[in-house]
């Protein structure tokens, strides 16, 4: 359980976040949505302790401010927006860095082959020997996700649920991999872990999130289930855009929406 109570962040004398409160429960995927500059990434960075914050953040009922970096690393893994590396690491070496941090869970031979399994899960089986700098941006993003998955491979370890913090995890991915990565996050939550994800795509948030936090001007504008948050009024207030929230039109008019993907069929294709 992650409990955030009246969180505030000031950067360079400017108030970026103010009085943000919500909880993210294990077993659930919590999406953070909001327009550019609303403080989504700042919120995620604050609960990663990258920024000083006021208010309290509790991670599995322990005050985050009192946790050692190693304790925190055992209970949550963080996917950054983008990462460049100054040295020529192979893809496998990058993923393996997730193993040496925190506590993945598996031991022995299972631990040694964990990077390969993590790469397979993000549809990058066989990429281990490539240089990180020589693969595409979207592939790099998935390599980073594989590294993050390694860090908290077992969603629940010794009865403690573990969290994934994802900052725009699908921002540079094609549609197939957007759905796939969201499935990976969904799977982590279904297995008892927790996920907090900053998402730009409202449809993906509607499809995959159990709870949505909508931020506007650094404050919580709405918090609840997708049906509660994604309403015409809230969207208009939060995004300042007169959009209509729709439901799929009735047959027989054909239409294609990403929501139509069959998770099981997608998984089979990834192998």
């Amino acid at each position: 359980m992650i409990e955030i109570d009246s969180l505030g962040v000031e950067l360079g004398g400017r108030t970026i976040l103010q009085g943000v409160s919500f909880t993210a429960a294990p077993g659930e995927l919590t999406a953070i949505i909001g327009p550019n500059g609303s403080g989504k990434s700042t919120l995620l960075k604050a609960i990663c302790r990258d920024y000083h914050y006021s208010g309290t953040v509790r991670l599995n009922s322990i005050d985050l401010a009192r946790m050692s970096p190693l304790d925190a690393a055992c209970q949550r893994a963080v996917l950054p927006q983008s990462s460049t590396l100054p040295f020529p690491f192979t893809v496998r070496e990058v993923v393996a860095m997730g193993i040496t941090a925190g506590r993945p869970g598996p031991v022995g031979a299972a631990l040694r082959s964990l990077p390969e399994r993590a790469l397979a899960r993000v549809d990058l089986a066989g990429f281990g020997g490539r240089y990180y700098g020589e693969i595409s941006g979207g592939e790099q993003q998935r390599v980073q996700l594989a590294r993050v998955l390694c860090q908290v491979w077992q969603p629940v370890l010794d009865g403690t649920p573990r969290f994934l913090f994802l900052d725009e995890p699908v921002s540079s991915l094609d549609v197939k991999h957007q759905l796939m990565i969201m499935d990976v996050a969904r799977h982590h939550a279904d297995a008892g872990g927790g996920v907090i994800a900053v998402l730009h795509d409202l449809n993906l948030a509607a499809m995959y999130a159990d709870r949505i936090v909508a931020l506007a001007h650094g404050r919580t504008a709405a918090f609840g289930t997708p049906a509660e948050v994604l309403t015409d009024v809230t969207i208009d207030v939060v995004f300042d855009a007169p959009l209509r929230v729709g439901l799929a039109p009735p047959p027989p008019i054909p239409f294609v929406l990403p929501q139509s993907a069959q998770p099981s069929a997608l998984k089979a294709r990834v192998g």
């Binding site: 960075k45 990663c48 302790r49 990258d50 050692s68 970096p69 190693l70 925190a72 690393a73 055992c74 893994a77 963080v78 950054p80 990462s83 590396l85 100054p86 040295f87 020529p88 690491f89 192979t90 893809v91 496998r92 070496e93 990058v94 393996a96 860095m97 997730g98 040496t100 941090a101 925190g102 082959s113 990077p115 390969e116 066989g126 990429f127 281990g128 020997g129 490539r130 240089y131 700098g133 860090q151």
Partner: protein, 366 residues
Amino acid sequence: MVTSAMLASASAMPGGLAGDRSKLGRLTVISLAVALVAAMVLSMTTGASGASAWSVMASWFGHAPADEAQALRDQAVIYNIRLPRMILGVLIGAGLAVSGLLMQGLFRNPLADPGLVGVSSGSALGAVGIIVLGTTMFAPFTEALGIFALPIAAFGGGLVTTAILYRVATRGGQTAIATMLLAGIAIGALAGAISGVLVYIANDAQLRDLTFWGLGSLAGATWVKIVAAGPIIAIALIVACFLSKGLNALTLGEATAGHLGVPVQRFKIFTILAVAAATGASVAVSGGIGFVGIVVPHLLRLVIGPNHHYLLPATALLGATFLLMADAISRTIVAPAELPIGIVTAAFGGPFFLWILLRRRSAFAW
């Protein structure tokens, strides 16, 4: 040479999982350890005097020497000249190479090197300060620390320059490359200017000390120097052993290193202390030998990759071997005179480095 054979096999990753170079890393560390032992033997058995290390070793096992006086002379050469010189060479070679590696990891930049960004100049300023002002202005300091005054002053100079450099060039965990290089040049120039003033006001005896010190050589190796500088370099190397996980994590960025469980602030402080200690103590006793801290880590990164778990011990071993070989050449090529070792490291390191760059240019475009 061992290294060039390994370079050829760098693209093929032996055995196991694709992209996993840990076996190659282990193999390289073991090979380099063997190479270092060979270099140590070579360093003990060659020299201008022709003293035989083997006859000294034979005497340990009760073999009576044929010529008593010759044996005593040999013993004096081996124990008082070659052995301290060899030990100092190992420590300084490892210290300079590892401080280069640590700086490159800390700044997340393959161009960082204590010699290039002014840390060596800062250390040199500390050393020059002690030589020139040690009997006047800094008398209490030199009296209190004795033989440790010079290495500790050089350590202090290195520490201050590294700290200033880090403060100027790094904002929010990101190091601006251009700022780092420019700041390093500025700090180096300033330290050089102050050193120049000190040299200007030095008296004749001090000038003589400065000249001998500034040659950049292992020639003055004595047991006193080893006692004064050795422990500082050794501690820095031991501290460095515990930094490899943090250095790996830091390549992903400062924030991500923290997310991976590295106590980033403490890690940075220990890294800066280790760099300043190893560079400072090395400069204090050898006057600053260039090119080791940049060539050795680069070469090894091409062979075994940037995983510091293996890169760090390999860098220490190759740095020590490289300096011993350079010293052997500097002692023998114009015997009985000596070439300053800095000339040898630059003469061999420079072209070799250029050759690697030409051959493997793509490997540097990371």
